[in-house]
């Protein structure tokens, strides 16, 4: 399978074209992954205005009590759903569970370092640090290795 990427200023949206002789399970899996990727989720900013948040811009989600917040580089949004619901929606965007109360965007991790007892400390691209607990570090390691 060859992969061809073509950048063009003439397109209004990204179009993915498959050229194939015979459709197979592997192509079906790729389509499933692309369709499963969520581009935007809704959230309320600090002015309580409803916004569309680009999922790929989110650094991490954090549950504080019954509230769930999505953090980007420059803003915090309250997301009106439970953490497990957010996890389900964004799992195809490389946002995985880091602990009982956090989801982290793997693509926004700048570096990792090991913390005691099988845990890891993730430094995000904006300098913030997120603790990845032992229970979830294996899953995150597996994802990074297979990405």
């Amino acid at each position: 399978m060859r992969l061809i990427k073509r950048q063009s200023n003439d397109v209004n949206e990204t179009v993915i074209t498959f050229e194939y002789r015979k459709w197979n399970d592997e192509l079906e899996e790729i389509v499933g992954f692309i369709k499963g990727k969520k581009e935007y989720i809704s959230g309320y900013n600090q002015e309580k205005a409803l916004c569309n948040i680009k999922v790929d811009d989110i650094l991490y989600f954090e549950a504080v009590g019954e509230l769930v917040f999505a953090y980007t580089d420059d803003a915090v949004y309250e997301v009106k759903m439970r953490l497990y619901q957010a996890e389900e929606q964004v799992k195809n965007n490389g946002i995985l569970r880091a602990s009982k109360s956090m989801l982290v965007n793997i693509r926004k991790i700048d570096s990792l370092r090991s913390a005691l007892n099988g845990r890891m400390m993730a430094t995000m691209v904006n300098g913030e640090e997120i603790m990845i607990s032992r229970a979830y570090s294996k899953n995150i390691i597996g994802y990074i290795k297979s990405a």
Binding site: S99, S114, M131
Partner: protein, 143 residues
């Protein structure tokens, strides 16, 4: 919770095997001709459970603070030393000299330190590999 018990049981079986092996090695080297009761068959099982007790918290509590981890490791070390010395006393008694007891005490400590150092080094290597991978993932995303 269920996963915690499964992991605990599989590690317990491993610890029993390790305990049996170390008793066998020490006995073969230092007390080859002693006769032991059949009830000693259960020593690895009991000793294994004794060694695993301070580790229970690691299977069921996710995020321990640094001082809690240090305390847990200290208690673990004390219990391993106590268990090893007591078992050697029961099995070999006066057959082996004080020097053997001291050697066993030191070797338990040395191996505990070595285990920690080696697993730390392996973890660091894995983390370095992951950081390289993360850099590639970010570069692909930015491209």
């Amino acid at each position: 919770m269920e996963n915690g018990w499964k992991k605990f049981l599989s590690d317990y079986i491993l610890v029993q095997a390790e305990t049996t092996l170390s008793i066998g090695i020490i006995g073969t080297i230092f007390a080859r001709d002693i006769k032991v009761s059949l009830s000693y068959f259960f020593i690895p099982a009991i000793l294994g459970l004794f060694y695993m007790l301070p580790c229970l918290v690691l299977y069921f509590k996710d995020d321990l603070k640094v001082w809690q981890i240090v305390l847990q490791r200290f208690i673990e070390w004390i219990m391993i030393e106590v268990g090893t010395m007591y078992t050697m006393k029961i099995l070999f008694g006066e057959v082996i000299s004080k020097a053997v007891y001291i050697a066993a005490f030191i070797s338990v400590s040395v191996f505990m330190i070595l285990t920690t150092v080696i697993s730390d080094l392996l973890e660091k290597k894995e983390i370095n590999d992951l950081n390289t991978k993360l850099k590639n993932i970010r570069e692909k995303g930015d491209a």
